[in-house]
Amino acid sequence: MHDGSGRIVVQQLTKQFGAVVAVQNLSFVVEPGSVTGFLGPNGAGKTTTLRMLLGLVKPTAGSALINGVPFGGLGHPARVVGAVLEAQGFHPSRSARDHLRVYGAAIGVDDMRADHVLGLVGLAAAGNRSAGGFSLGMKQRLALATALLGDPQILVLDEPANGLDPEGIAWLRQFLQSYARAGRTVLISSHLLAEVEQTVDQVVIISHGQTRYNGPLENLRRSQASRVLVQPSDANGLMTALRAAEIYNVEALPDGRLAIGGVEAKQVADLALKAGVSVYGIEEERVNLEQLYFAMTNGQYQAAGPNQYGPPPGGGFGGPPGGGYQQQPGFPPSGGFPQQQPPSGGFPQQQYPPQQPGYPPPGGQQPPGYPPQQGYQPPQGFQQPGPGGFGGNA
């Protein structure tokens, strides 16, 4: 029997579909009491991992344990783990209530439970409607209601925000957080960090079927590197002063500013003062979480050269739908920073090369929190351009 811990342990999990390695040697642990985000670009192996965890797909190697046992050993699995998966079907002509009564019967719960969970997810009024007529968001709610039938200790949700309107997402966020606060385990996958950033406490980031990061989101925030952008009266003079102070991570930007890594703005200003260089402008540039996430996960389907795709052909991939972020010509498609200050040209990316091993980078004394930045919107919907990245999971 299972140990009732609410813990999910994935150990060296590997899945091969023919020649394709979907998941490779993946290991992570999900603890109860928090919402854990399971992040990675489309095609990174998230869905396959969750399906292996739920006994739907047989691992090639390794194990995925829930409460210390594989899914098949749980006995009454729906009372331990409830899952909302993509491509989880409903019979189009079966009503929502009947759907829940079918699976409620399978789990062995009272028929009252069907109405209860319908109410929980806000579908009480739609219980008699057939699921075939539901919107994507309503189907997500019905799938969640199904997952809740057995009052499970663990909730696993694959891309739960798909199809939900902003109100639905806000509701889901609150729901999942209160679920976790009750000491239960919540694991949600997403290909967008921004989508779950406000929901999750812990993150597991995977790419290429392997774990890139597993830990508190807070630690990831703290690890944000920053650099200082300064507009000096005398760039060479300031550079000399910086070298004298053994600060070598300096780069001249095309607009005449200097970008200095691994320092604080105060330090630079003090040095400039000592060197007698006037400072016309100084600011700290922060890499936000989304950028970190890109850096950790990119390259999976990366094209060799710069972006070969043109501007998004209307509703295609890539460009953010609205928001301040504009993809500019010459901007590296992935791996670099999205620009935060429109006039400055593209940053060379040597400081945050794609897929830097051992990420997150050291240094970066960033205070916790996620300060909104100058005009920069987290690129909602931005995805890495590449054959596998166009909303394939949706």
């Binding site: 739920l54 079907g89 019979h91 009947d98 009564r101 199904t146």
Partner: protein
């Protein structure tokens, strides 16, 4: 297990498929039996009016040629429980409800066993209704003439129930194996309607009785044939098999069974066992396939 059986029953009863297939089955069973019943009645009446057999002392009313209507109508209508079975698991795979089904069950084996139990019961329900409608249609058309006594009548209907039940299981297994509702329905229907009749012709009926459709038809066909032969035997003075000699006897058996819809049929019990074997084969492979299948 009880929970899963309840769930499977609810799955069936909360959608239209069970009556969408049952209604045409009822209509076809009654209509086909009625038409064939009219046919055998006119043949019987013709023989009776002709008077030749009467002069020879044979009472045509004692020869229940109505069994042909019973067995053939059941054979034709058994396509509906087959389709019903074929959709049992394949539609879950197709609609991806199988994910939820597996997530809410203690094991896949439990799901598949529950399905087997429920579809056996539904096969029985279909079988009883179809056999009943066939009986009603035949009786209505013949006005009660040319029909066997109650024992023989019930025997044929029982064979019909068994045939429907086994077709349901075979369909369930085949659909589970193929995973596509449309594919399994089409393949099964084309096989039963076109492929096997052609095979029967090409192979000179020698193997017809051991092929799935032939074996299924043999369950009712040989039962009906047996009833007729027993009646003829009772009218004859010496054992027919001896009088005819082995070759003629076999040809006679073949003709009677073929007339009853079971071309090349083995004895009714052998047909039943062979068909049971086919049903279990497909059922077994289909369920095994789903026991290990990756649900992606």
């Amino acid at each position: 297990m009880g929970n899963l059986i309840k769930a499977e029953f609810r799955k069936i009863l909360t959608t239209k498929m069970w009556w969408a297939l049952l209604i045409p089955a009822v209509l076809l069973a009654f209509g086909y039996a009625f038409a064939l019943g009219k046919g055998v009645t006119s043949i019987g009446d013709f023989i009776k009016n002709d008077g030749t057999l009467q002069k020879a002392g044979v009472n045509v009313d004692n020869i229940s040629i109505g069994v042909f209507a019973l067995s053939r109508s059941i054979n034709i209508t058994s396509v509906f429980p087959m389709l019903f079975g074929a959709l049992g698991l394949s539609s879950e795979l197709h609609r991806r409800t199988i994910t939820t089904t597996f997530l809410t069950a203690s094991s896949r084996a439990a799901v598949l066993s529950a399905k087997a139990v429920v579809y056996v019961l539904w096969g029985l329900i279909y079988g009883v209704i179809i056999s009943g409608m066939v009986a009603a249609g035949t009786a209505a058309a013949t006005g009660g003439n040319y029909l066997p006594d109650a024992g023989g009548f019930i025997l044929i209907l029982l064979a019909g129930v068994i045939e429907c039940l086994l077709w349901t299981l075979l369909g369930l297994g085949f659909g589970a194996l193929l995973g596509s509702p449309i594919g399994s329905v089409l393949i099964l229907a084309i096989y039963a309607i076109a492929v096997e009749p052609v095979l029967d012709l090409v192979l000179h009926n020698t193997v017809a009785g051991i092929l799935p459709n032939g074996a299924a038809d043999g369950v009712t066909g040989a039962t009906a044939g047996q009833i007729l032969i027993d009646q003829l035997q009772s009218l004859a003075h010496s054992p027919l098999a001896q009088v005819m000699g082995p070759d003629n006897w076999n040809a006679f058996l073949f003709s009677i069974r073929a007339a009853a819809g079971g071309i090349g049929a083995l004895d009714w019990w052998a047909s039943g066992l062979v068909f049971l074997g086919w049903a279990m084969l497909f059922f077994g492979i289909g369920l095994f396939r789903n026991h290990t299948r990756d649900i992606t």
